[in-house]
């Protein structure tokens, strides 16, 4: 067992699960989407990105790319939340919630690709 692989797999999966937890629920209902979950998803996703630094293989490069996409989408979702709750007059409306959650949905897709890559890598790696 390789401790590095454990940590790597843990963070990649955790990023995907947190993201999924935030995304699930009615898209325009603010009560179903906890902002702390978004924050946790973003922090874990950033850690997963850093863990993917310095891998020279082709699959490592795709891993890094998917993580960067997820980070970007989650940061965008966070900015939408800040805009809605702090700057705009209406507060968290259904429109704002929907756009925030859909952005995190995009990140979820990228995270799923990450997980698929992880699984593929594990399956193709014999005698691991």
């Amino acid at each position: 067992m390789n401790l590095e692989k454990v940590i790597f797999g843990f963070f990649v999966l955790l990023a995907a699960t947190l993201n999924f937890g935030f995304f699930i629920g009615d898209i325009d209902n603010p009560a179903l989407h906890n902002i702390y979950e978004l924050f946790a998803a973003l922090a874990v996703s950033l850690i997963a990105t850093v863990l993917k630094f310095g891998d020279r293989t082709q699959i490592g490069a795709v891993h890094l790319a998917t993580s960067l996409v997820a980070d970007l989408q989650l940061i965008a979702a966070g900015v939408v939340w800040v805009w809605a709750s702090e700057i705009s007059d209406q507060g968290m409306t259904a429109t704002h919630t929907a756009s925030m959650v859909s952005l995190s949905g995009g990140a979820l897709l990228a995270n799923l690709v990450s997980v698929i890559l992880l699984v593929t890598e594990t399956v193709t790696f014999h005698r691991g």
Partner: protein, 611 residues
Amino acid sequence: MSNPLLVFWAVFSRREPRGRPPSRAYIESTNQASSTIFLVMRRMRAPLITLIVIFSVSVVGLTLIPGIGPDGQPARISLFESFYFMSYTATTIGFGELPWPFTPAQRLWVTFSIYLSVVGWAYAIGSLLTLLQDRAFRQALAMRRFTRKVARLREPFFLMAGYGRAGELLAKDFDALGEQLVVIDDSSDRIDALELGSYHSDIPGLAADAANPHHLNAAGLEHPSCAGVLALTNNDETNLAVTMTAALLRPDLPVVSRTVSAPIAERMRAFGTPAVVNPFDRFGEHLRLALNAPASYQLLTWLEAGPGAELPERGRPPTDGRWVICGYGRFGREITADLRAADLEVTIIEPAELGAPEPGVIVGDASEPTVLARADLPSAVGLVAGTDNDTTNLSMLATARRLNPQLFLVARQNQPTSAALFEAMRLDALLVPTEVVAHEVYAQLSTPMLWRFIQEMPARGDQWAADLIGRLRFNCGEELPALWKIKLDREQAPALGGWLAEGRVTLGNLIRSPEDRARRLRVVPLLLLRGGEAVLTPDGETVLAGDDELLFAGQGSERRELESTLVIDSTGAYVLFDEHIPSSWVWRKLSRKKSTPSTLEERQDTTSRQG
């Protein structure tokens, strides 16, 4: 070029990028550099993750701790406010307690997170700075920068391995000619010297071992614009490795290689046809030429010294008599062989015992006056101080001059720092190996026609050389003028095409002034090359043909006048045949006069049809 289409054709047809795919070795060398950068990213993982974790914990913690709002009611600050607060606190900017004053519980948490985050930042920034100072990382960055610079070169360049004294002299010469260079040297001091040197063009330099093919590739050996390879390091093995690499990877490139050892020279010649420069060998040949033909030697050294050089003095070496050679190393042997070949008697002084006692060899330290006295200097005509120690050479020369002031003194200078001392001795001939190499390589690469000229020149005799020096001084002055070549083809001499084919162009008529054809241009034709046949200093009666190549010496203004004759029809007709023809097409049609240079009209028609 009278036809604008021809100009475009000439400009664009020259750009023919040779479709040479980069080899695997090239890709590997760039990979090598990028792997170091991957390593740096990998090493930054721990500090970055620490920073993210510390930040997340502090931010979330602050939002969870209850505070008191401006209205006195309990209120928590939002994630965004908390992130904002932590950002300016952790980076030690510290705007104060925003958006409202904190409660003691919040302050307790903030105190805790300040210490945590400051440590996190210090760790991250510290690691980053350490990595930036890392030697391997800096080398990788320098390599990347160098590789990119070389890859962007679009003009032909010479790859120079070894930037010692010879390399520096050559770089100056080539820079003056407007040639681009790429330098690789294993000493970073020399690369610093290259960067400090005042050159017109930006010369990329890499501090790396030239014997490594990866480094040579990074320096552009596989680059389509690479025009030649110069192996000029002090190390014969490295030069051999460079020659070998160049011959195997780019067999089409000319290679010039420096060595002082005959066996190494043989090994170099096993790979293709490199031009091997052995400074000792060449100096011996020069000395022999100086003894037999002082004027030829004077002309040779002048032409090899590069543009702007002063005419060297003509030495008067003794033609017969006994020579004394001190130091029978590689240099001494070459000189002895050359002097003996010139039927001169030679006495050798050598400190070490040679294998078999040879006639005329005195064993002993030549810097001791008693040993020198045994060589019977008063009856000798020349002395060669050829040891590899400058102090020994200088003391020998001083003693010898005291014993016989008439001696012809030849010395070998080893260190560039001794230059002033040797100059103060006012010697008759001085070997500076690095300068011999630089001049030789310059002559071979600056214009191939100059090299041809220098090779064929000694056969023409001393009187011919003296006359030529006289002509050069009369036409161009005491400083060596620029040497340039022209080729009488459609590109460089479009105005002459038809007349050349008819055999009506003589060299004497060609070099007349376009303003007043009674005045001869102040240029000296040095060499005429026709289909591999070389004619030295062709005279005015020579009839020129198409595709002839000519090497001229002359000032730039004279060169421009000659070029206008080659390019403009009407100027050409005036200069060659004293004919005035209208220069514009309309006037030519209007005048309807069949011009005496009969082919002119027809040729115009054919070119316009082709163009």
